[in-house]
């Protein structure tokens, strides 16, 4: 099967500080990958490179057959195919939940308003907040906001979903409702790359685990093997601390 995301030898610096070192990563369609690691290890930066919210300086990133580089035209087209969910939700506070979801389909995919709103309502139903559609983000709980953000990304019907610590800013009680939505999404066959510390979630859905430290991929293994028989000492230490 062809790869939908390929990273070859990617290096990235913030000024003189190297945040990504020789990253190689391949993702097949429908694969679910969970990236974990201590803070500052470069995991967020890595997935933000995949939709070019961050630019890499060396190596190749190929998403769905298109190489991302400075000369990439239509970067918007790639981004439209890659949904992203942020730690801080980043809903648009001046728009209702429904408008948050239907805005990009209307203006980027040029769908008629009615159809876009239909898609939006379907996705809101999928994350179980269709009853909140006409409220503004500020009126929703954190968990509801994050589910709305997931629905907003889904409305673009992306081929890949990136999750950047989607539950880190949530109260413990709300984490489950968001994870449930993500599990449901994974079972639906979405290609997902998730940065998270929720190891229960990782065990349930991940095909592969990736452990990063200091900008490097330290370990990459099938999920069961990763948890039961980690190879590197650093991974063992990390797992012993969070499990």
């Amino acid at each position: 099967m062809g790869k939908i995301i390929e990273l070859k030898n990617v290096n990235k610096w913030f000024d003189k500080f190297q945040v990504l070192k020789d990253i190689d990563l391949e993702v097949s369609p429908q694969e679910k990958i969970v990236i974990c690691g201590p803070s500052g290890s470069g995991k967020s930066t890595l997935i933000r490179c995949i939709n070019r919210l961050e630019e890499h300086q060396e190596g190749n990133i190929i998403v769905d057959g298109t190489e991302l580089s400075e000369s990439t035209k239509n970067i918007e087209k790639i981004r439209a195919e890659v949904g992203m969910v942020f730690q801080q939700f980043n809903l648009f506070p001046h728009l209702s939940i429904l408008d948050n979801c239907s805005l990009a389909p209307i203006w980027v995919k040029k769908l008629p308003k009615k159809q876009a709103e239909e898609i939006a309502m379907n996705n809101l139903k999928r994350v179980q907040i269709d009853d909140q559609a006409l409220k503004f983000p500020g009126q929703l709980s954190g968990g509801q906001q994050q589910r709305a953000a997931i629905a907003r990304a889904l409305c673009m019907e992306p081929k890949i979903m990136l999750f950047d610590e989607p539950t880190s800013a949530l109260d413990p009680e709300m984490i489950k409702e968001v994870l449930d939505v993500m599990v449901d999404l994974a079972k639906g066959g979405m290609t997902m790359i998730v940065v998270t510390h929720e190891m229960g979630f990782a065990k349930e859905v991940a095909d592969y685990m990736i452990f990063m430290d200091e900008g490097k991929i330290v370990e990459r293994a099938k999920t069961q093997e990763f948890f039961e028989n980690p190879k590197s000492e650093r991974t063992k230490l990390f797992l012993s601390q969070i499990l």
Binding site: Q88, L91, F92, P137
Partner: protein, 417 residues
Amino acid sequence: MNLIAKPSKDNIKTYVPIGLFLVSLSFLDVFINAFFNLNLMGFLPSQLSYFLPLILGFIGFYLIRIEFSGVHSLDVLNKNINSNNFNALLTLFTIFIIIKSIPPMLDWFILEANFVGNSKDDCTGDGACWVFIKVWFNRFMYGLYPDAEQWRINTAFLILFAVVGASFFVSEKLKKYFVLFLVFVFPFLGIKLISGGSFGLEYVESAAWGGLSLTFIISAFAILFCFPIGVILALGRRSSLPAIKYISIGFIELWRGVPLITVLFMSAVMFPMFLPDGTFIDKLIRVLIAITLFEAAYMAEVVRGGLQALPKGQYEAAKSLGMGYWRMNALIILPQALKLVIPGIANTLLALVKDTPLIFVVGLMELAGMIGLAKTNPKWLGMAMEGYVFAGLVFWIICYAMSRYSQNLEKKLSTER
């Protein structure tokens, strides 16, 4: 030694009535003195009678300053205007000054003022000569615009007010067309109607325009154009393309650094010298462009403040949904940023309206300019006070209306974060 106990809850029953009585007495004394020119305490030595109200009020305020008295109105009073000796003094001074200044103001504005007549000689009273405003009213509104053609200005403004008024009562969908008409059609229609020169309308050169109608015309056009230019400049200043960024910075800093009066003077006097022979741009248009660009530089900085206040996540979320630069700004960033800086925008636009009198340096006379002209008329010398009070009042009404509108807009657009 406790001759007079400190005011407290225990002696509230005796202290508060005495205190209130003393305070009232001091106000009454000042009031009678101001309104009826009687000095009740005249029998006392002059120095004492002069300061007596202050002393009485001060003692009175001291007696009623009881903490947590349990009487709500007394607590509110003490908290707001009588929290300590210094504040009590300030309160007394303020109230005395207000009482003292009311009678002369009343006299000048109304009681001794002159309303009837049609020349300066009819103003026999000591107060304001409002006859001046009455006689010159037409000029103050229309400048030197020919009397027979003034219906054109009236019509233009009537259409404007009618469309704006009607837009409050129509559905959201129709409102869009009303706004489009007001922004893209009406300005040019209105100008054509006022300047004439075609459709059988007599041509009236812009030098004859003036008065309040010119204030409105200049303000409206400058506001209409400086806003989008300011937004573009603000975006330009934050652009990642160095050329656009530095051109924007250069433009903003250049226009912000020069006084408006200089800009106006240059636009009228120097700019034509650089034009090729035979080309001519109307003076009013040159002035309009100058004011617009000047205010756009200020507007740009206000809008930039709003752009910088938005969290980075909003940009990233918009980008991650596949929006390009213009869609991201038009749909996500600007609606939020502009909403944040409505007070700043209102500030800039109010300043713009109040800057319009400066166009006198190029010989154009809006309201304040016409008043300046009228007060130098030999038949009406010495009317500066009436004229500028009138101008101040008109400008205040305009600006207060704008300020209220901006506050309403702020309320209407607020969605809880």
